[in-house]
Each structure stands twice: as C-alpha cells, then as structure tokens.
C-alpha cells in the first residue's frame, strides 16, 4: 500500500474511532441522566429481536425522550464500530487492489452478521 493510501487509511480509522467513542459516550450519558432524573417508572427495557427492530424501537422511544432510546443507540454505535472499521479496511484494500484481503474482510463481515441473525432467531 502506498504511503498516501496508508495515511488516508489511518485518518479514516482515527475519525471512525473518535466519532464512535464520542457518539456512544454522549448518548449513554444522556440516557443515564434521563433515567436518573425520571426515576424507576422509566426503567429502560431490555432490547430483543432483530437489530433492525431494535433500531426502530429506539427511534420510537426517542420521540418520548425515554432513556432506552439513548442507551440503545449508544450500545448499537459500539456494536457496529468494529464492523465499520472492517468496512473501511475492506475499502482501503480495494483501493490498493489487495483482493485477497478484500475477500478475507468480507468473510469476517459475513461471520459477524451471521451472529446477529442467529441471535434474532433464538439460536
């Protein structure tokens, strides 16, 4: 990989990590703040089902400023961070025409996605 591509890869990786950490921290801290302010009646519910349905539920909870929405969003950001980093790595390998590592990266994406799908099915 050329030093220019390597530099871009580092910059994107750093940006992904910092954005993820920032978003997750802010979201979870707001969620905990809302929960502690509103009390036990607003106990966050435990998400379950497909990842898509958890995202939809979080969006609906956000409209009523429920703590669950912020906590779930923070958790999802953390969950998807390795996948986003992996995606960035695959794109970098494609730009470097490193097809072997594009393939290896896609296999890992498939395995991680399979983990989420099997949990939804009750595994």
């Amino acid at each position: 990989m050329s030093s220019r591509l390597e530099g871009q890869r580092r910059f994107i990786n750093l940006w992904i990590l910092r954005t993820s950490i920032g978003l997750s921290l802010v979201s979870i801290l707001i969620g905990l703040g809302v929960f502690l302010a509103k009390g036990r009646d607003y106990l966050p519910h435990t998400p379950a089902g497909s990842i898509a349905s958890i995202i939809v539920d979080a969006c609906q909870d956000a409209l009523s400023l429920h703590a669950s929405a912020f906590l779930d969003f923070g958790m999802l950001v953390i969950l998807f961070t390795p996948l986003v980093r992996l995606g960035a790595g695959i794109v970098a390998s494609m730009r470097a025409r490193d097809w072997l590592y594009v393939l290896i990266g896609l296999v890992v994406v498939a395995l991680v996605s399979l983990g989420m799908l099997t949990g939804q099915a009750g595994g």
């Binding site: 905990l32 106990l43 379950a48 923070g74 958790m75 980093r85 072997l100 983990g115």
Partner: protein
C-alpha cells in the same frame, strides 16, 4: 442495591476493566463478568452479553493510541479473525445450553490459566522471528513497527497453529464474555514470535471484532440490559483511553503480575461457585 448505586458500581468496574484490558491485553471481561455475577448476581448469559459490549468498548477505546505506531498488524488481524469469529459464532450458538455452574468452572480455569501465563517470561519480546513461514510469506503478514522512533521490520512464524488457537479463543470469548486476549497474545507472542507490543495491539484490534460476532447474538436474544451495559461501556471507554496512553510509559510486565494475583483470588471464588460451595 439502588439504581444509582448499581450504575456507579458498574461504572467503576468498567473503568478498572478498561484500563487493565488495554494495558495488559488480557481483556476487561475477566473483571466485568465476576463483578456482574458475583457482586450484582446477574444471570451468567446476561453478564456475558453485557461484558461483550465492554470488550468491544475496550478495543475501540484503546485503538486510537496504536494508530501510526505500526503495532497493529491489520492484515494479520484480519486473517486470524476468520478463525476467531468462526469460534465465536459456535460459542454463541451453544451458550444458552451450557449450565451456569459449568460456565463458572470454565471461567475459573481460564482465569487461573491467564494468571499463571502472566508470570511466564516472553522470550521473543521486541525481537520477532528470523524468517517468515511459507504461509506468512504467501499472505504477506510480515510488517514493521516503531521502536525508539525507528521503524523495525519483523517476520511472522507459526501461522497455522496460531489460526487453530484463534478458533478456541473465539469460542471462549462468546461463551464467557471475555476478549480472550490472553490466548490471542500468547499465540502471537510464542507461536508467531511477534514483538510483544505488536501482539498486544493486534489482539486489541481482534477482540473487538470477535466480541461483535457474539454480542449481536446476545443483544438480539434479549440478554443485554441497557442500564448495566451503558455504564459498563462508559467506564470501559474512559479506562481504555487512560490505559492505552499509559501502555507506552508504564512497566507493563509488573502490572500484568499484579493483575494476575488479583485474578487468582477471583478465579478461586468462581471455581468454588462452579462446584457448588
């Protein structure tokens, strides 16, 4: 325990787990799971699910410090990740069928093993293998890292046996909610003969993806309470950031040994729970 106290206890536990995980490469799960099961009496699958989110946070929080140092070998990490994620997938699938007492026993044994291995000397620290193995050559796994401001090339040996160990590491990660960093670091350090900091940083990169493979399973299965996972993530991110920074200046070997002694005590507690005492 009141919700506020629970949040504060879990937050503090996450902070310690994140710092230890990023400093020693052993993964914060070894702190989080005992905290949640022994102190907060959470069922094992729920503690494991929450801990896996903590493990991803450890990996994410420590990673920025490694960028630009060359410590993290992305090619090697990706290749070994195929094995680790495969093992994690199998581990997640059988996780709800394994009795809690058996999990406590396995966890205790893994903790004791991790503790004992922390006292073993690292023969190839910062030196690396002399020659690339044929598979390492074919996969272009050799790379370079920064040492004392200079780029140092290193070679990679023992790729096939390390690949096999990664399957087991992934399996245990999903079953016990740990990063399995101890197995990953040992495989890279002793079999692949990588410089120790390369092993630690590459393991850190891998534990996030391994944990994500099974964390999605536990989340979809309804095992991850946001009120527990949230403070764990915040604590771990803060702890991992501090730990990742200290990694370059603190005597890591000494810290690993202090942590190992603590691990021994917790391991005995887990084993006693496993045998029903």
């Amino acid at each position: 325990m009141s919700p506020l106290l629970t949040v504060l206890v879990v937050l503090a536990g996450g902070l310690v787990a994140g710092a230890i995980g990023s400093l020693t490469g052993l993964g914060g799960g070894l702190v989080i799971v005992p905290l949640l099961t022994l102190l907060l009496h959470l069922p094992v699958p729920e503690a494991v699910g929450v801990s896996l989110f903590g493990v991803i946070a450890t990996s994410t929080g420590a990673a920025p410090r490694f960028i630009g140092t060359g410590y993290n070998n992305v090619r090697l990490g990706l290749f070994l990740q195929v094995a680790a994620s495969s093992g994690a997938l199998v581990g997640a699938l059988i996780s709800h069928k394994v009795p809690a007492r058996l999990l406590f026993l396995i966890f205790g044994i893994v903790m004791l093993y991790s503790a004992v291995m922390s006292f073993m000397p690292t023969k190839h620290d910062a030196a690396g293998a002399r020659e690339d193995s044929p598979l390492a050559k074919r996969l272009r796994l050799g790379s370079r890292y920064k040492r004392d401001g200079q780029w140092v090339d290193y070679k990679v040996a023992g790729v096939a046996p390390a690949f096999g160990i990664m399957v087991g590491a992934g399996f245990l990660s999903a079953l016990l909610g740990i990063g399995s960093g101890v197995f990953k670091v040992l495989a890279m350090d002793r079999l692949m003969r990588l410089p120790f900091k390369v092993s630690t940083a590459t393991s850190n990169f891998m534990i996030g993806m391994t944990a994500a493979t099974s964390a999605g399973y536990y989340l979809s299965h309804g095992d991850v309470s946001p009120l527990v996972a949230g403070p764990v993530i915040v604590g771990v991110l803060a702890g991992a950031y501090v730990g990742g920074h200290w990694m370059t200046v603190l005597p890591v070997k000494t810290l690993r040994r202090i942590f190992a002694v603590v691990l021994c005590f917790v391991a005995v507690d887990m084993l006693l729970k496993g045998v029903g005492i």
